[in-house]
C-alpha cells in the first residue's frame, strides 16, 4: 500500500500518468450579426417548405476550440482533427509549433485540404478514411479550406506550449481529459482569434471545474 502511494507521488512529481480532467463551458454573447448568405449564390432554389416554420440552427460551436498551454513536454493531448459531416470538425485547429497535426477524413467522400500560405503544404485529395498531415511551423494562424468544397473553412494555430485540445459541444461545454496537474492557461480559440483566456491550475487527484467563460471579441475574459 505504501509502495503504491509512493509510486503515485513519484509519477505525479514527474508529470506522468497522474492526469486529471478539466471541465468548463463557454457563454457566447448573442451576436448582433445574423448569419449572412454567401456572396456567391450557389443554388437556384432555396425555398421554404410551406408547412413547418424554419428550424433554428443549434449553436454547435464547431468553430470553437479550447486549448491548454503550459509547461508540458509530452505530445499534445486530444489534438486530433477530422473531416466529418462534410466539414472540418472542429474548424479551428491548433498544433504545437514544430510538430505535425493530423487531419483525418471520416466522411464517405473525398476531401482536398488546403492551407493558405503555409509553405511546404500541397493540397492533395484524401479519400474516406485517409488523413493529411500538416507540419506546423511558427507563425499563423493559417486559413484552412477544401479544394472541392467551398463551404469548408477553418484556421490552424501554431501554439508553442500547447498541452491539450478540447472541442466545444453544442451546449458550449468542453472537457480536457488526462491532463497532468499543474498551472496552465486555458484559451478559447474561434476562427483566427483567441476569444478567451484564463489561468488555471489543475490539482493532483481532482478534476477542475472552470467557471463559464464568456467569449469576447478581443480575447480577454
Amino acid at each position: 500500500m505504501l509502495g503504491t502511494g509512493c509510486a503515485a507521488v513519484v509519477l505525479v512529481a514527474f508529470g506522468g500518468v497522474s492526469a486529471e480532467s478539466i471541465e468548463g463551458s463557454i457563454e457566447a454573447r448573442p451576436s448582433a450579426e445574423s448569419p449572412s448568405e454567401p456572396d456567391r449564390k450557389d443554388h437556384y432554389w432555396r425555398v421554404w417548405n410551406g408547412a413547418l416554420p424554419e428550424r433554428r440552427d443549434d449553436d454547435d460551436h464547431d468553430d470553437v476550440l479550447a486549448i491548454l498551454t503550459g509547461k508540458f513536454t509530452g505530445p499534445p493531448i486530444g489534438c486530433t482533427f477530422r473531416f466529418r459531416g462534410g466539414a472540418l470538425d472542429p474548424s479551428t485547429l491548433a498544433a504545437r509549433t514544430g510538430t505535425q497535426v493530423r487531419v483525418e477524413n471520416r466522411d464517405a467522400f473525398t476531401h482536398q485540404l488546403s492551407v493558405d500560405r503555409l509553405p511546404g503544404f500541397t493540397p492533395l485529395e484524401a479519400g474516406p478514411g485517409k488523413a493529411r498531415v500538416i507540419s506546423v511551423p511558427a507563425g499563423g494562424p493559417w486559413r484552412l479550406g477544401d479544394q472541392i468544397y467551398g463551404h469548408v473553412d477553418g484556421y490552424l494555430h501554431s501554439i508553442r506550449e500547447l498541452v491539450a485540445c478540447a472541442t466545444v459541444g453544442p451546449n458550449g461545454r468542453f472537457r480536457f481529459d488526462d491532463v497532468p496537474p499543474g498551472p496552465y492557461s486555458l484559451r478559447i480559440l474561434r476562427g483566427a482569434e483567441q476569444v478567451a483566456v484564463r489561468r488555471v491550475t489543475v490539482p493532483a487527484g481532482k478534476s477542475l471545474e472552470v467557471d463559464p467563460m464568456t467569449l469576447s471579441k478581443n480575447g480577454k475574459d
Binding site: 456567391r40 449564390k41 450557389d42 443554388h43 437556384y44 432554389w45 432555396r46 425555398v47 421554404w48 417548405n49 408547412a51 413547418l52 416554420p53 424554419e54 428550424r55 433554428r56 440552427d57 464547431d62 466529418r84 459531416g85 462534410g86 466539414a87 470538425d89 471520416r106 466522411d107 464517405a108 467522400f109 473525398t110 479519400g127 474516406p128 477544401d146 479544394q147 472541392i148 468544397y149 467551398g150 463551404h151
Partner: protein, 599 residues
C-alpha cells in the same frame, strides 16, 4: 478632256464603292462577332433558365419520397434522442428508396440519402452504405434540415451531381431530409443542347470534360471546347465575356450553380460564327429590303451617268473618228482632197492637219522606198528638172501617179555582166575633167512652174524636197503594145507616160555643147553608153510609133538628158555603177525601165 474627267470620276466612284464594300465587310464582321457574343450570352441565360427549371422539377419530384410514410417513420425513429435505427430498418428503407427512385423515371436519381435531424445518413440507395456517415455540415443538407427545399451541385468522390433536398417532417416536426443527386453526364448535355440549336456544350470539372454535346459536324467539337478550358475557367471568375475558340468561333463559360463551382465545375457553350465575305454582305438581306430599294434611283442615276459618259465619249472621240473615217473613204475615192480638220477637235484636228500636210507634201511609205530597186523616173526626172510643179515631158509633178499608185514592183539590181564589151557602162560617173555630159543636167536652168499647164487632179501638190518616190510613170497615148518579152513583170517599172507635152520647147534650157573630142576621150564607156542610149531611144521611138503616139518633138538630145538625169538618180540611190534602160509597152504606152547594175 471631259471624257477623261469622266473616267476619273468613274474610277473614284469604283474606288469609293470598293472602299465602302470593304468597310461594310469589316463592319459586318464586327456586327457578326457582336451578334455571336450576344447569342452566346443568350445561350448562357437559356442554359441557366433550363437548369433552374430542371432543379425545380427535381425538387418537386422529390416530394413523392419525402412524404412516403416509411421514410418519415424511419427518420423519426432515428432523430433526436430516439437513437440510431437498427441495420434492418435501415436496409428496408434503402429498398424503399430504390423503389421510390425508380418511380421518378426521368428524374431518377443516381444517389439518394435519407438523413435524420443530426445529419446522419440513415439510408441510401446502396444497401451496403457505411454505418455512420454524416452530411449535416453540407450546406444543402443543413438547409434542408432547417426546412428549406434547395438545390446544389456536389462533387462526390470525383463525380459531379446535381443535388436536390427536401425536408421530411412527421407529426408536426422535422424528422430529417431526403437528398437526391443526378450525375452530370452526356445525357444532361444532350438535353440542354437541344435547347440551344447549333451550339455545342460541354460540362467540365477542372481540366476534364464530364459531359459533352455537339450540335453537328458544322459545330464546334468537344475537343475544340476543351482546348479553351483554361481560358474558360479564368473567364468564369473575371468577366462574362466570350472567349475566342478559333477565327470565327467563340465560346462562353459559366460556373455551375452550386458548391461544386468551387471545384472548378462549369460549362462552356460554343458557337461558330457566320463567314462574312464580300458576298456575305447580302447574307442578311431580306426580300423586304430588296423591295424597299428606290429602284428608280438605283437604276436611273447609273443610266443617266452612263448616257452622259457615252455622250461625252461620242463628242470627244467617236464623232472625230467617224468624221475621219468618212473623210478617209472620200479621200480614197478621190471625192475630196484633204481631211476636214476644221470639223474636228483637239487631237483629231491635229491628226487631220498633219495628214493633210503629209498629203500635200506627198509623203509615202519609207519602207517601200527602201525596198524598191527600180526608180521612179518621174520623180527623178522632175528632180533633175528641179521643178516642183511640173513633171517630165510637160506633165505637172503633182499629177504624176506616185510609186504606190502605179504599183511598181521591185527589181533587184542586176549583176554586173561578165562580158563588159557587151555592156555599155553608161552609168559611170564622169570626173570633173570629163564632166561635160554631167554638167548638162546641172547646168539646166530651173523650169518655171507656170511654164506648163497643170493637169486637173485631186492630188495635192508635192514639193520636190520631200518627195521619195522611186518610180514615176509617163503615160503614153492610148495605144497598147504587148510587153517586151524581156520585161519581167516582177521588176519595177518606170513609165514615160503621156508624151504629149514632150514637144514643147525647153525655153530656159541651155545645153552646153560637148566637143566630140571630149566625148571620144571618154571612151570606151561613154561611147558604149551613148550607143545604149541610142538604142533605147530608137526602141522608145519605135514603141511610141507602134502605140500610135506622136514622136515629132522627141529628139535624141532631150531623151539622153532625161536618161542622164535618171541614171544619176539611180546610181546615187542604189550605189550602182551602171544603169540599164529598157523600153516596154505598158497599158498601150511606151515606157522606160531603169535597172541599176551593182559594181
Amino acid at each position: 478632256m471631259l471624257s477623261r474627267l469622266w473616267y476619273f470620276v468613274l474610277a473614284l466612284a469604283v474606288g469609293a464603292a470598293l472602299a465602302g464594300a470593304f468597310l461594310n465587310k469589316s463592319a459586318a464582321s464586327r456586327e457578326a462577332e457582336f451578334q455571336l457574343e450576344e447569342q452566346l450570352r443568350r445561350d448562357r441565360v437559356e442554359a441557366e433558365l433550363w437548369m433552374r427549371l430542371d432543379a425545380r422539377l427535381r425538387l418537386d419530384a422529390l416530394a413523392s419520397i419525402a412524404v412516403e410514410p416509411e421514410v418519415r417513420q424511419t427518420l423519426r425513429s432515428s432523430s433526436g434522442r430516439a437513437g440510431t435505427p437498427s441495420s434492418g430498418t435501415r436496409r428496408r428503407l434503402s429498398i424503399k428508396l430504390n423503389a421510390l427512385n425508380d418511380e421518378l423515371e426521368e428524374g431518377r436519381g443516381d444517389m439518394i440519402f435519407a438523413v435524420d435531424t443530426e445529419g446522419e445518413v440513415v439510408a441510401t440507395l446502396d444497401k451496403s452504405a457505411p454505418e455512420s456517415e454524416q452530411l449535416g455540415k453540407m450546406p444543402l443538407v443543413r438547409d434542408a434540415l432547417r426546412g428549406f427545399m434547395r438545390d446544389d451541385v456536389w462533387v462526390y468522390n470525383g463525380d459531379v451531381y446535381r443535388m436536390a433536398a427536401r425536408p421530411v417532417f412527421d407529426g408536426g416536426r422535422y424528422v430529417g431530409a431526403v437528398i437526391h443527386g443526378m450525375k452530370i453526364g452526356d445525357d444532361l448535355a444532350r438535353r440542354l443542347g437541344a435547347k440551344l440549336p447549333n451550339a455545342s456544350l460541354v460540362f467540365f470539372h477542372g481540366d476534364q470534360l464530364i459531359a459533352a454535346h455537339s450540335a453537328g459536324a458544322s459545330a464546334l467539337t468537344s475537343t475544340e471546347l476543351k482546348s479553351v478550358l483554361p481560358m474558360a475557367i479564368a473567364a468564369i471568375g473575371e468577366s462574362s465575356d466570350s472567349i475566342e475558340v478559333s477565327e470565327r468561333a467563340r465560346a462562353i463559360a459559366g460556373p455551375i450553380r452550386g458548391g461544386a463551382a468551387h471545384a472548378q465545375v462549369g460549362y462552356v457553350i460554343g458557337r461558330k460564327g457566320s463567314t462574312v465575305g464580300l458576298g456575305g454582305l447580302f447574307a442578311n438581306t431580306f426580300q423586304e429590303d430588296v423591295a424597299s430599294l428606290p429602284w428608280s434611283v438605283v437604276i436611273g442615276i447609273p443610266m443617266l451617268l452612263l448616257l452622259l459618259g457615252l455622250a461625252l465619249l461620242y463628242l470627244e472621240h467617236d464623232k472625230g473618228v467617224a468624221i475621219l473615217r468618212q473623210s478617209a473613204e472620200r479621200l480614197a475615192k478621190g471625192e475630196q482632197s484633204s481631211l476636214p480638220a476644221g470639223r474636228l477637235r483637239r487631237h483629231y484636228r491635229k491628226i487631220a492637219e498633219h495628214l493633210n500636210e503629209a498629203l500635200r507634201s506627198g509623203v509615202g511609205f519609207k519602207e517601200d522606198a527602201q525596198q524598191r530597186a527600180s526608180v521612179d523616173l518621174d520623180h527623178i526626172l522632175n528632180a533633175t528638172r528641179e521643178s516642183a510643179d511640173t513633171g517630165y515631158f510637160g506633165y505637172p509633178a503633182a499629177e504624176a501617179p506616185t510609186a504606190k499608185q502605179v504599183a511598181l514592183e521591185d527589181a533587184p539590181p542586176e549583176t554586173k555582166p561578165q562580158a563588159p564589151e557587151q555592156m555599155a557602162r553608161i552609168g559611170k560617173p564622169v570626173s570633173s575633167d570629163e564632166s561635160a555630159p554631167a554638167t548638162v543636167d546641172t547646168a539646166r536652168p530651173q523650169r518655171s512652174p507656170s511654164s506648163r499647164p497643170k493637169r486637173a487632179s485631186s492630188w495635192p501638190n508635192r514639193t520636190s524636197s520631200t518627195r521619195q518616190p522611186v518610180a514615176a510613170a509617163i503615160r503614153h497615148a492610148e495605144e497598147t503594145l504587148p510587153p517586151a518579152p524581156d520585161d519581167p513583170p516582177t521588176r519595177p517599172n518606170a513609165m514615160l507616160d503621156d508624151y504629149d507635152g514632150f514637144d514643147e520647147p525647153e525655153e530656159s534650157t541651155q545645153i552646153k555643147h560637148v566637143p566630140q573630142s571630149l566625148l571620144e576621150a571618154s571612151a570606151p564607156e561613154v561611147q558604149g553608153e551613148d550607143a545604149h542610149y541610142r538604142e533605147v531611144f530608137d526602141q522608145f521611138v519605135a514603141a511610141q510609133k507602134e502605140c500610135g503616139a506622136p514622136v515629132s518633138g522627141l529628139t535624141f538630145d532631150k531623151f539622153v538628158r532625161k536618161l542622164h538625169a535618171a541614171r544619176d538618180q539611180v546610181m546615187k540611190r542604189h550605189n550602182a555603177s551602171q544603169v540599164r534602160f529598157t523600153v516596154y509597152v505598158r497599158e498601150g504606152r511606151a515606157a522606160l525601165k531603169a535597172s541599176p547594175v551593182k559594181p
